[in-house]
C-alpha cells in the first residue's frame, strides 16, 4: 500500500476530527487510535482523581477536631480512606501516566503509527472502566468497604463490607494494566521507526519500557492475591484465615510483592516525563542518558526485591528484616543517580522557567523529600517507631502526589499544545502552581511532624494533643484545593478556547515536535527524521 502520493491522504486529518467508523461519543469509546485512547484514559483517570480528591478533602475536614468534625461514626471515615486509597492508587496514579500520556506519545516518540495491538489497547481501556465500575459497586453492597487499600487478611475476611466485589474490581483493573504492559513492550520491540535504535529512544519511552516489565511480571501476583480473597470470602476455603490454619502474613507478602513494585509503576513513568521536560526547557541534551536508562531498569529490578519493608513490625524473622532493609537502601541508589543527572542537566543550559519546567523542578524537590523520608522508614530501628503512623502517610503523599502527580500535571502543561493545538494561560498556570506547591507542603509536611509525635494512621478520632498539627494540615488542604481548581480550570478552558499554539512551541527535539499539532491520525505524514542522538540540541540548532 504505497499510495502516499494520493492528495487527500488517509489519516492526514487531525486525530481530533477524524472520528473513524463511528461518530460522536462512539467515535471515541470504540476508537482504536492510540491518541484517542490516550484521551479516553486522560479524561477517565482525571475524573477519578477528582473523586479521590474530594474524599481526601472530606477526610481532612473530619480531622479538624479530635472527636471527628464530620462523622461521629467511624464507619464513614473508614470508608473514606479505603475508597480514597483504592481510587487514587488503582484508578488514578497507576493507569494515569502510561494510559494517557504513554498511549498518546510513546508511539509518536519512537516514530510508530500506533501501538502493536490497537484493539487490545481499546480492550485495556474497557477493562479499566469495567474494573472501576465493579470496584465502586462495592459501595452499594452489604456495607461500606472499610479495609484500607491494602485489604489485609483476616480483617478483610471478616468485615461485613462487600469485599469480594471490591477485590474483583481490582483484579479486573490488574488485567487492564497487564495488557497495556504487553502492548507497550511489543510496540517498543517491533514498531520503532527505521533508524530509531534502542539507545536513540527518548527517555519517556524507556521509562515506560521498564514500567511495562514490572506491570507484566508483578501485576499477576496481585491478581492471584485478590482472587484468593475473593474465593475465600465466597467459597469459604481457608488460605489466609488463621482460624482455618492459614497465615495472614503470607497475604501481606503476596500483596506487597505486587504493591511495592507498583510504587515504581507509579514513579518510573513520571521520572520519564521529567527527563523529557528538563532538556527541552534547558535547551540542551540530557546529562548521562545512559545512566538514566540503566537506572530505570535498575529500579525495576531492585524494586521487586524489597517488598517486605512494609512488614518490619509484623513478626518477620530477624534475618529477613535485615535483608529487606539492606535491599531497600540499595534501591535508593538508582533514584539518587537520576536526581543528580537531572540537576546536572541544568548546567550550562539555556533555561526557560515555563510552567512545565517549574513542575519538573518541584518534582525533584518533592520527590527527594519523599524519597529521603523513605530512607528513614527503611532504617529498621526507625521503622519500628514510624510504621503505621502519619509519617508513612506523609512519605507516600510526597512521592506519589509530589512526585508522580506533579510530573503528570507538569507534562499536561508541556504536551497540552501538542495534544490539542492550543496554549494555556501562562499567568494562571503560575498562580495555580504556587497555590498547589504551598498548600501541598503545608498539608503533608505537617504530617511528618504528626508521625514523629506518634499519631497512628487510619484514625477517625484522635487524642487532643494532635489537634494543632491536624488543623494546620487541613488548612493546607484548602490552599491546595484552590491551586488545583485554578490549574484544571485553566487547562480545561484552554483546550477549547486557548490561543493557537505552534507545532513546536518549546523548541523540543523529540519526534512529537516534528509533526503538526494536534497530530494527524497517521502521526507521520512523511517518514520522520531520526536525530543522530537522543536529545541532540546542537544538531537541531546547527541545521
Amino acid at each position: 500500500m504505497t499510495t502516499s502520493e494520493a492528495p487527500p491522504r488517509a489519516g492526514a486529518a487531525s486525530y481530533l476530527e477524524d472520528h473513524g467508523r463511528f461518530s460522536g461519543i462512539f467515535g471515541w469509546i470504540f476508537s482504536t487510535d492510540h491518541k484517542r485512547i490516550g484521551i479516553l484514559y486522560l479524561v477517565s483517570t482525571l475524573f477519578f482523581f477528582f473523586v479521590g480528591m474530594s474524599l481526601g478533602f472530606l477526610m481532612r475536614l473530619q480531622m479538624l477536631s479530635p472527636h471527628g468534625e464530620l462523622f461521629k461514626n467511624a464507619d464513614y471515615y473508614n470508608a473514606l480512606f479505603t475508597l480514597h486509597g483504592v481510587i487514587m492508587i488503582f484508578l488514578f496514579i497507576i493507569p494515569a501516566v502510561p494510559g494517557s500520556l504513554g498511549n498518546f506519545f510513546m508511539p509518536i516518540m519512537i516514530g510508530a503509527k500506533d501501538v502493536a495491538f490497537p484493539r487490545l489497547n481499546l480492550l485495556s481501556w474497557w477493562l479499566y472502566v469495567t474494573g472501576a465500575v465493579i470496584a465502586l459497586a462495592s459501595l452499594f453492597g452489604s456495607g461500606l468497604p472499610d479495609t484500607g487499600w491494602t485489604f489485609y487478611a483476616p480483617y478483610s475476611l471478616r468485615t461485613h463490607a462487600d469485599i469480594p466485589m471490591a477485590v474483583f474490581g481490582v483484579f479486573v483493573l490488574g488485567f487492564s494494566s497487564i495488557l497495556t504492559g504487553i502492548n507497550f513492550i511489543t510496540t517498543m520491540h517491533r514498531m520503532r521507526a527505521p533508524g530509531m535504535g534502542w539507545f536513540k529512544m527518548p527517555l519517556f519511552p524507556w521509562a515506560l519500557y521498564a514500567t511495562s516489565w514490572v506491570q507484566v511480571l508483578a501485576t499477576p501476583v496481585l491478581g492471584i492475591t485478590m482472587l484468593l480473597i475473593f474465593v475465600e470470602r465466597i467459597f469459604h476455603v481457608g488460605i489466609f484465615n488463621p482460624a482455618m490454619g492459614g497465615d495472614p502474613l503470607l497475604y501481606q507478602h503476596l500483596f506487597w510483592m505486587y504493591s511495592h513494585p507498583a510504587v515504581y509503576i507509579m514513579i518510573l513513568p513520571a521520572m520519564g516525563l521529567i527527563s523529557e521536560m528538563i532538556p527541552t526547557f534547558a535547551h540542551r541534551t540530557i546529562f548521562g542518558y545512559g545512566a538514566i536508562v540503566w537506572s530505570s531498569m535498575g529500579i525495576a529490578l531492585l524494586g521487586s526485591l524489597v517488598w517486605a519493608h512494609h512488614m518490619f513490625t509484623s513478626g518477620l524473622s530477624d534475618a529477613a528484616a535485615t535483608v529487606f532493609s539492606l535491599l531497600t537502601f540499595l534501591v535508593a541508589v538508582p533514584s539518587a543517580i537520576k536526581v543528580f543527572n537531572w540537576t546536572a542537566t541544568l548546567y550550562k543550559g539555556s533555561i526557560a522557567l515555563e510552567p512545565p519546567m517549574l513542575y519538573a523542578l518541584s518534582f525533584i524537590f518533592l520527590f527527594s523529600v519523599g524519597g529521603l523520608t523513605g530512607l528513614i522508614l527503611g532504617a529498621l530501628a526507625l521503622n519500628v517507631m514510624l510504621h503505621d503512623t502519619y509519617f508513612v502517610v506523609a512519605h507516600f503523599h510526597y512521592v506519589i502526589f509530589g512526585g508522580a502527580a506533579f510530573a503528570f500535571f507538569g507534562a499536561l502543561h508541556y504536551w497540552l499544545p501538542k495534544m490539542f493545538g492550543r496554549m494555556y494561560n501562562r499567568s494562571a498556570a503560575y498562580i495555580g502552581w504556587a497555590l498547589l506547591f504551598t498548600g501541598f507542603n503545608l498539608l503533608y509536611f505537617t504530617m511528618f511532624v504528626l508521625g514523629v509525635m506518634g499519631m497512628p494512621r487510619r484514625y477517625a478520632f484522635y487524642l487532643p494533643r494532635f489537634q494543632t498539627p491536624q488543623v494546620i494540615a487541613t488548612v493546607g488542604s484548602w490552599i491546595m484545593i484552590a491551586g488545583i481548581l485554578v490549574v484544571f480550570t485553566n487547562l480545561i478552558v484552554s483546550v477549547f478556547k486557548g490561543e493557537k499554539a505552534g507545532d513546536n512551541p518549546w523548541g523540543g527535539v523529540t519526534l512529537e515536535w516534528q509533526i503538526p499539532s494536534p497530530p494527524p491520525t497517521e502521526n507521520f505524514l512523511e517518514p520522520p527524521t531520526i536525530p543522530e542522538k537522543a536529545y541532540d540540541f546542537e544538531g537541531a540548532f546547527a541545521s
Partner: protein, 302 residues
Amino acid sequence: MNPASTSLTESVTHVFIYIVALSALFLVGITATMIYFVVRYSRSRNPKPKDIHGNVALEATWTIIPTLLFLSMFYFGWTRWEQMREVPRDAMQVEVTGRQWSWSFKYPNGKVSSELRLPIDTPVRCDLHSLDVIHGFFIPAFGVKEDVVPGKHNFAWFDPTELGTYDLLCSSYCGQGHPLMMANVVIMPGDKFKEWYSTQEAATGPAHGELLYKTKGCIGCHSITGIRIVGPTWKGLYDSEVTVTTNGKTRTVKADDDYLKRSILDPNADIVQSYPASVMPVQKDLTPQDVNDLIAYIKTLK
C-alpha cells in the same frame, strides 16, 4: 527529647538525627544547586546552551558516595534494631491480648488487668496474642511497636524509665473501634507496684463483673456512660424496655436476667434495634458464674 511527646526514644534518636541530617544536607545541596543553575543559566543570561553528554567520573562519584552513605544508614538502623530485639534475661513477662476493640494484660501470677501497670526501671517483655484480627501494639512514649497477629507469637520489650501514665494505642487498622482501642500504661514506683500486684481481685460479684467487662473485651463496644459506641450502652440497661429483632420479628422485651444471659451467650438470638447482627463475638470463655457477675455488674449501672 521528652519521651512523652514523641515516639522516638533516646536509643534511636541518634539514628534519626544521622539520617535526617544527611538527608537535609543533600536536599539543601540539590535544591540550592538547582536554583543557582536556573538563575545563572536562565535564557536571558545564557542564550547559547552547551550540550554536555555526561561524565563518567562524575557518574561514578555520585553512584559510589550515596551507596556508601546509604549502607551506613542501613548499618546504624540495623544495629540499634538488633538491640531492640534482644530481650534482657531478667525481663518481667506480661501476656497481652488484643481483640476488637480492647486490650487486656495477664501477669505471671495470674492477675488480669485492663491497664498495663509496670514497675519503673524493670524491663518488660510483652507476649502478644490476638483473638481475632491483626492489631498493633504501640506505645509512642517508649517507641515500641509490634503487630499483634492471630496465630503468631510476636513480642515486644521495653524498659520504662519514667514514672507516669502513657497511652497504648492500636496501630494496625482493625475495624470500627480501631481509633478507640486504647489502654493506659501506668509506670509506678516499685513498692507501689508490688502492693498492687499482690492484691487479689474480687472473685465473684459485681466487682468481678467489672473486671470481666474491662478485660474480656466488652469495654470495646459497650460504654457505661450512656454514649453509643459499637454496641448499646450498659447504662440504665437493666430492667429497661429493649426493642429487639428475634428471628426476623420485632418485639419489645424487658432486660431482665434471662434476657441479658441470652444476649451474652447467644448474641444473635435477639438483635437490638438499630445495631448490626453478628458483630458481637460469641463469648466462649465465660463461665456461668462469670455471666452472673457481669449481669450483677450491669445491675449496678443505673
